[in-house]
Amino acid sequence: MNEPPVIPPTATPIPAATGLGLQRPDPPLGEVESDRQPITSLVAAIEAVLREPRRVLYQLTQPHQGRLTRDLVLVTLVSSAIYGFVVGTFSGGQQLMAAPVKIAGGLLLSALICLPSLYIFSCVSGAKVRLGEVCGLFAAFLALMTILLIGFAPVAWVFSQSTASVTVMGALHLIFWFIATCFGIRLLEHGFHHHGTQGGMMRIWTLIFLLVAMQMTTALRPIVGTAPTLLPTTKQFFIAHWLEPFQQSDESSKTNAPFQAGQEK
């Protein structure tokens, strides 16, 4: 009589799956058999980045992860150069060579600029991670981003052949780059989550990387259109550069548009 009702035990909450569309518990890296399969070739690396990110993340924690990191960097350079070639088809001529070099080189330079701060932020966020592992994670992020860009390349090519507006093409490339970067960031956060990062500190680094990469597109302009010189002769911040087309009359063309800088990265 008058016994308190029995409260059913609360179900143990399942740890939230982090990123990459995982809707199931995310066990520690290496616990799943497929994580432990070595990645031995470039093709396997590409496939793993897209389909088995946990496998990549686990392999990057192994003693001989340098080779995988090197493969991922190679994938990044090749993929970004391919996408750059598609970007160059908008203007043709010397841009067919210049755009791939600028995009691949600019991405690599942005990565080098942001790598030290990524290591700092990961440590400050509590991650127990070596510099080599940070390099590997960063390479995986860049590889995924650029592989996705290749996926968007046919769409970009169709538009580049059907429009003469540098502004439209710049905006389109920028949208593709943002989408690809979002997926890359999710992979990066997933990786650092397994290294023990806490809090939202890594979001600040993400913002820094985005700003550096966007400024890089302005520093290396023109990437989409053309200009008298291969590199800019004046310094400008990317926001001011991007606002130029809206401040001037809509006379942009492939040859003399103010929106000549590449916004595509």
Binding site: I120, V124, K128, Q215, Q236, F237
Partner: protein, 239 residues
């Protein structure tokens, strides 16, 4: 010998950044020269790179000066406040030795310097992309303002993280948040008071566009930071 211990300690740089209080508290238990050398090297490398990146906007010579002066500001502030900080700690309830208080503050400054060093490529990139130093008096000083703003934001971030780590360490050492709060406040007050003056003496770091590049201003020792602020406030109210 020094380099062996330095290499050993470099592996522990992440320990400071992560704020592993237990491990850091163990470091404080016994004096190790290698750890001191590591801190000094990290301050010179990290803050030096940051100062050089900052000065690069103006000229290569200003970059060299900045690379020397920014670490000096940190180390001179540490040296100038070490006595008062060591005395205040026991008075406020934390019984630690002189060398321990020195190391605690140096660890905090080392964290800030490592973070500044990590940001130096970003700062250098900003400097490279900032509009050049204006030559005419009427020219825009937007570049100067941008460099200054980015510099302040990055230093503020480094300072906040370093102080959060310092607070965590003091919490562990004292075992009492009220005590660590008092010590933190006292140490911060001393460091900020002296640090502001040393920074003022060591100016310029970026350099006003209309003034020449110098290691120290010719009037560096005339007046002080607080007088200048006071005069600026007076001018504001009288204008």
């Amino acid at each position: 010998m020094i380099f062996n211990s330095l290499a050993f300690d470099l592996r522990h740089g992440g320990t400071l950044l992560r704020g592993e209080s237990e491990e850091i508290a163990r470091w404080l238990e016994r004096w190790e020269g290698g750890r001191l050398w590591f801190c000094l090297a990290a301050v010179f490398a990290g803050a030096g790179l940051f100062g050089a990146a900052l000065g690069a906007w103006r000229s290569p010579m200003q970059a060299l000066y900045g690379g020397i002066k920014v670490p000096l500001v940190i180390l001179l502030t540490t040296a100038g406040t070490v006595l008062s900080n060591a005395m205040m700690a026991p008075l406020l309830g934390l019984d630690i030795k002189f060398r321990q208080s020195l190391l605690v503050i140096l660890f905090s400054h080392t964290i800030a310097a490592i973070i500044m060093g990590g940001f130096s490529p970003v700062l250098f990139f900003v400097v490279c992309n900032a509009p050049p130093v204006p030559t005419a008096a009427s020219a825009s000083t937007a570049g100067h303002s941008i460099v200054l703003l980015v510099e302040v934001a990055l230093i503020a971030f480094a300072g906040v993280v370093a102080n959060v780590r310092l607070r965590q360490l003091l919490d562990r050492l004292s075992g009492s948040p009220p005590i660590s709060s008092r010590i933190m406040f006292a140490w911060l007050a001393a460091n900020l008071f002296l640090g502001a003056q040393i920074s003022w003496l060591m100016r310029p770091f970026v350099g006003s566009p209309d003034l020449p590049v110098e290691f120290l201003r010719s009037n560096a020792f005339q007046g002080n930071f607080y007088e200048t602020v006071f005069r600026a406030l007076m001018n504001l109210f009288h204008s």
